[in-house]
């Protein structure tokens, strides 16, 4: 659905995106992760033909971008960097205008399609209020409705749950999974690891403009070779596990032990055989957070002082 080859974007002297080769396959729920300022939005804008790449090639739904971007975009629904609408018009009027502006929006079915999209995002009873009076969450939902009109084959969503409350986040996630199961490919760009972990099947991580990893989510959540054991009989267990015990922390009704042990089933047998009571036992897995933090540096919103310039007052930018 999306395939880029060595895409690079330079704004003046700033290298925003550096040699990124994405591969999003049909049916994926693809999470595009990265700290703030890592180039996610610029990459998304290049995919959509809004920003022109300095180098490299982009293919969207099998068509080259930006040359044939217009053909490809007919089947793409987007939410880029927050929703936007004409503030003096109602949500319904906004969707109607946007639908009328482009191709594939038959006038006969327009009203029905607008209503269906509003219904999908939970804004069916929105009425004639102007968008200027909407809450942040309602605007976000309206933006999603605009993306869902004309049932696109690919959804490109940049931070779609911004401004939503926990309930709204859940609604959006359920909606996206439902659409995905019905055949829509979802490309979700976000800096929220939890959101990507909860929704996506494949992950790409961008760091300072470079794609540092691109893999199935499951492949990134490998076991660490440690087992977490919560037991009231910590002393007995510790005796059995000499040398393999990494740490003991007191917790409710006993202690939490971290054990270096590859096979959780075997460990369970051994402990239970020795009469150790167990509250909880589970193999530890790498989290997406560990993986991402290990692979990426600080976001560009962290501005550390350069060594050697301590005590100097910040001068005007040269």
């Amino acid at each position: 659905m999306i395939r880029t080859d060595g895409v690079t974007k330079r704004f003046g002297s700033v290298l925003a995106v550096d040699d990124v080769s994405l591969d999003v396959r049909e049916g994926d729920r693809y999470g595009f992760l990265g700290p703030n300022g890592s180039g996610k939005t610029t990459t998304v804008r290049m995919l959509l033909g809004l920003v022109f790449a300095t180098r490299g090639s982009i293919e969207l739904l099998g068509r080259p971008v930006p040359r044939q971007a217009r053909d490809a975009l007919r089947e793409v629904g987007t939410l880029v960097e927050g929703p936007a609408a004409y503030r003096h018009l109602s949500g319904r009027a906004n969707l109607t205008l946007l639908d009328a502006a482009g191709p594939d929006g038959s006038r006969r079915t327009r009203r029905a399609r607008v209503d269906a999209a509003l219904e999908q995002v939970g804004l069916a009873g929105i009425g004639r209020r102007p968008v200027g009076a909407y809450s942040l969450g309602m605007r976000q939902r309206l933006g999603l409705a605009a993306a869902l009109m004309r049932t696109p084959r690919l959804l490109v969503l940049d931070e779609p749950t911004n401004g939503l409350d926990p309930r709204g986040i859940r609604d959006v996630r359920d909606l996206l999974v439902e659409l995905n199961l019905a055949g829509t490919t979802v490309f979700l760009s976000s800096h929220l690891l939890g959101e990507v972990e909860a929704l996506c099947t494949r992950v790409g991580v961008l760091d300072r403009g470079r794609l540092v990893v691109q893999d199935d989510l499951a492949a990134l959540q490998t076991p660490t070779g440690r087992v977490l054991v919560r037991t009231p009989d910590a002393a007995i267990a510790a005796g059995l596990l000499d040398g393999r015990l990494e740490s003991r922390t007191p917790c409710e009704h006993g202690e939490l032990l971290v054990v270096r042990y590859a096979d959780a089933a075997e460990l369970t047998r051994q402990l239970v055989g020795a009469g150790v009571r167990i509250d909880e036992l589970r193999p530890e897995r790498h989290t997406l957070e560990d993986t991402v933090l290990a692979l990426s540096g600080p976001g560009s919103d962290v501005v550390s002082r350069r060594p050697g310039r301590r005590g100097q007052r910040p001068g005007p930018p040269s």
């Binding site: 610029t42 804008r45 959509l48 033909g49 809004l50 920003v51 022109f52 971007a69 217009r70 975009l73 007919r74 793409v76 987007t78 880029v80 960097e81 927050g82 929703p83 936007a84 609408a85 004409y86 503030r87 003096h88 018009l89 009027a93 205008l97 946007l98 009328a100 502006a101 482009g102 191709p103 605009a146």
Partner: protein, 273 residues
């Protein structure tokens, strides 16, 4: 897309406020003239006003003369300056482009909508001025009712007057096309509607200053505001076409060049807003 842009224009409260204000200004002038009955001496004050006291039917042309030098360009610059920059700063530009709307189509539709706005304004000013003028300036007893005298002292028939007024409307609308093109071009350069509108007005003020400057005589005939006041010639007998023709050509040239620049810039630039 053109239809969508026109709908946006007409549903926007700002459009009607601007048109309303443009109509109000000549009406205020008319009230003062009618109450005091003191006309500017011929050749002074806004063109044409002295003739109006004798007959209100000339007031549509006079009203356009009042709004032409400043108010109309301001309104047009604001609307055209907002065309692309306003969509960019509101974030709606990116959604239009990925809808997808081609960049060329979008800028053409924007230009058409600006032209629609300026035609709407000019026609609205002419109509309200006709209504106001024919109420307030009743021909004095002693003069022959219904006789309208042109600038050359000859009388104009009703049909003559109607035709000339329509020509004035068209000429003044055409004079604004250059303003619209400047503002639209600047609108593709910036995300600030205000910046684009003020930039266009600055260009016009510069042009006005140079027109009156003898040292700039060599370029005077090519300045965009040089022939703006030539519409007065439509009320001479016979009509002096020379300046009007040159005005049409100069405005057309500015419009073509600047719209070309606007297109070239907009079609090739990164949309990061």
């Amino acid at each position: 897309m053109i239809r969508v842009e026109l709908r946006k224009l007409l549903t926007r409260p700002r459009t009607w406020v601007a048109v309303g204000l443009l109509c109000l200004l000549p009406a205020i002038v008319a009230v003062f003239l009618a109450v005091t009955d003191v006309a500017p001496r011929p050749g002074e004050g806004p063109a044409f006003l002295s003739a109006v006291l004798a007959n209100g039917k000339l007031f549509p042309a006079a009203a356009l003369g009042i709004v032409l030098p400043l108010f109309l360009p301001v309104a047009v610059a604001v609307v055209a300056g907002d065309a692309i920059a306003g969509e960019a700063s509101g974030g709606t530009l990116r959604y239009l482009l990925v809808r997808p709307v081609g960049r060329t189509r979008l800028i053409v539709a924007k230009f058409v909508s600006v032209v629609a706005f300026l035609l709407l304004s000019v026609v609205a000013v002419a109509i309200t001025a006709y209504l106001v003028g024919s109420r307030l300036f009743v021909p004095k007893p002693g003069t022959t009712a219904g006789i309208v005298t042109g600038l050359s002292g000859t009388t104009l028939t009703a049909r003559d007057l109607a035709v000339r007024t329509v020509l004035v409307i068209l000429y003044i609308a055409w004079s604004m096309v250059g303003v619209a093109a400047v503002a639209l071009f600047l609108s593709t350069l910036t995300e600030s509607s205000l910046g684009a509108a003020l930039g266009a007005l600055a260009a016009l003020v510069l042009s006005q200053v140079l027109v009156t400057l003898d040292a700039a005589a060599s370029v005077r005939d090519y300045l965009p505001t040089r022939y703006w006041l030539a519409w007065v010639d439509l009320f001479r007998e016979p009509v002096l076409w020379h300046d009007i023709q040159r005005g049409v050509v100069v405005q057309g040239a500015y419009a073509v060049v600047l719209l070309g620049l606007a297109w070239a810039n907009f079609a090739s630039r990164d949309v990061t807003a």
